[in-house]
Amino acid sequence: MSTLGLLVLLIAFGAAAGVLAGLLGVGGGILLVPFLVLVVGMTQHEAEATSLLVILPTAIAASVALRRRNVGDLPTALAVGLVGAVGAVAGVLLALALDADVLRLVFAVLLAFVGVRLIGDARAVR
């Protein structure tokens, strides 16, 4: 694929993932990681790393939008996140220690779990 073609594909997919994330309340990462692995051809680790870099500005933009509408408590959220940052570094170190195939399997379990939960939600909403 040409560089321009890939660029357009990435922007379009980012937009589609963003719309779905906004609509369904699931994060973009659950779509980004499989897309980057299966379509773009990144390794599992590259895909996860790149996904986090996409999530960061998206979460900032969404939090700013929520704060403008007075939803939520951003200082508490950031405090929770600062503790979470320690967990995140531990998670990354664990990911880096794991084989890509194992990590992909764990990710597949997450996908199946969220998939089943969404189907369950759909059946509960009448």
Binding site: G18, I30, T43, A49, G84, V92, L94, L118
Partner: protein
Amino acid sequence: MDVALSSRAYYGRLGAIGLAGGLFSGLLGVGGGVVMVPLLVLWGGYGQRDAHAVSLGAIIPISAAGMIAFGAAGEVRLPEALALAVGSIVGAQAGARLLARAEERKLKLAFGVFLLLVAVLMVVGR
């Protein structure tokens, strides 16, 4: 919110939720909301909407820390991430605006099935 809970125990719980979300985020390259939102609702006494807002804010430091840790290992693919982020920020705002109850059930069902298919692809694909 659980009034019987002392504030120390309460903040301990919030910290534990952040830690769990962060670990999950770093390991799998997702935001961690899939772990934090249910925990904030079931264990933190938050309503769905506020739980989503707190989770979203917490994802900011969590994804930043995870990204830096992955970046140090040379796994982040910057140009791809930037292109995806541009689309994602625009898409997320559109998605939040499109959020309409009437379509939610079908959307969740279809997306749930889609995620199950992607889970299979992640295991057998490549």
